[in-house]
Symmetry: C2
Subunit: 252 residues, 2 copies
């Protein structure tokens, strides 16, 4: 039992480096794993033991181990302890960015040009794509994303007017529907499908490419708390666009 005035334990650390302590510990443990010194299945020392080793509180160890677990480098179970995970299944993550922001970042002039715009009651295809009952009022848009005035991608979009009634009168001049929606509706869930298709005559004309050119497609369904917001399919000519993503082990 402690009854001293207690000023606050150790001086919270000398903090020799700018790096937080839990991160230094995280790096040290991670090194043991990626170097192979601790192979898959190896059991790490328990939290109290590591706390003694590193001379810190158990909570600090917990934070470091939690970070390793977040990255699937270790598996943690009560009683069973913390063990090195098997090499992660070949799985990674691709970030899908906003087209406009991406183009602006690349230093090209961006514009969205609306091609068609119709308010209608959802037909069978609309209902299937958007996931709403047939008859639901929807806004159907087709437009072009332009980079330096050249077609960059073709967008086909359905907006659920029950979820976003104010879209009924919006003309989308000078703003893409995606951006317009984002300024109003923060989505909470999204589903993506990435595929490929050969451009048909209409697509080819709109994108100024040859027929049957292989194109990349991204379809995205967006929800806001159970309610369907929008369905969009974006078509990229393959030779003009690639999705790129790079991943490090997350540096915390």
């Amino acid at each position: 039992m402690r009854t001293e005035p207690v000023n606050g334990d150790t001086p919270a650390l000398p903090r020799a480096s700018a790096q937080p302590r839990y991160r230094a510990i995280y790096e040290a443990l991670r090194q043991k794993i990626v170097s192979g010194e601790w192979p898959a299945g190896h059991r790490l020392p328990s939290e109290p033991e590591l706390a003694r080793t590193f001379g810190c509180a158990r909570m600090t160890i917990g934070k470091a181990l939690g970070a390793l677990a977040d990255q699937r480098l270790v598996t943690r179970r009560r009683r069973a302890g913390t063990t090195v995970s098997r090499p992660r299944p070949q799985e990674s993550v691709l970030e899908i960015h906003d087209i406009e922001a991406e183009l602006l970042a690349a230093g090209v002039r961006y514009a969205y040009r609306s091609l068609t715009r119709r308010v209608r009651r959802a037909n069978a295809a609309d209902a299937a794509a958007l996931g709403v009952p047939p008859g639901t009022p929807v806004l159907a848009l087709v437009g072009l994303h332009l980079a330096d005035a050249r077609p960059h991608a073709l967008e086909e979009r359905l907006i659920n007017l029950e979820a976003v009634p104010e879209a009924r009168t919006e003309r989308f001049i000078g703003i893409s529907p995606g951006r317009w929606l984002l300024q109003r509706i923060p989505w909470t869930e999204a589903e993506h499908q990435i595929g490929a298709l050969s451009a048909d005559a209409t697509m080819a004309r709109r994108l100024a490419i040859r027929r049957n050119t292989a194109c990349l497609t991204i379809e995205r369904n967006t929800w806001r708390e159970e309610q369907r917001i929008t369905h969009v399919r974006v078509i990229y000519p393959y030779d003009q666009h690639r999705l790129v993503a790079r991943f490090r082990y997350r540096p915390l």
Copy 2:
């Protein structure tokens, strides 16, 4: 100053629900944000204030706010406090899974069939793809991923033999190169490019599809701590495969 025997503060919580306290707080705060009650730019109460509100320690609040920050729902800065972020840029994340695991999960028989296998010194194309100096010994593989004995995807792979010398003698019978590598080399960094192409005559023959069929391609470069491990391009016939991913606000 406390000098009582101190048994450990409150009984660590009645724990009415199975849910940890920080998570309940996280959910409560998140609701304020996604409901619009706290719009973008709104400043949240400070940590000590929230601790009083929720009747818990500041650290518990910090954990909840940290989770919100991880998901970009709020921005945290010293002195400036915690503010609601602007609706997130249209950006999401696509998981790229291991082909074999995916097919097995779908309940189909999986097999890898090696088509060609060559050890050579990297030519210019190899060097560019794999990111090693020309002349570096590489293993070049072409193979098929089979689902229920039908071609599912075509894989073209280069392996850096300086990084993985034991691949020189491996025959990849009954195991795909990807899986073989994973069992040996945990990668720490990867870069992906997703694109589309029209199948040429060779691809079409190997995949048993018609020429010029639009295909989805995934290229992946893999590093281990600065060293290049492998480059792989996988080609999927568009009508047989789509990449799908769904994202909720991460439930913590």
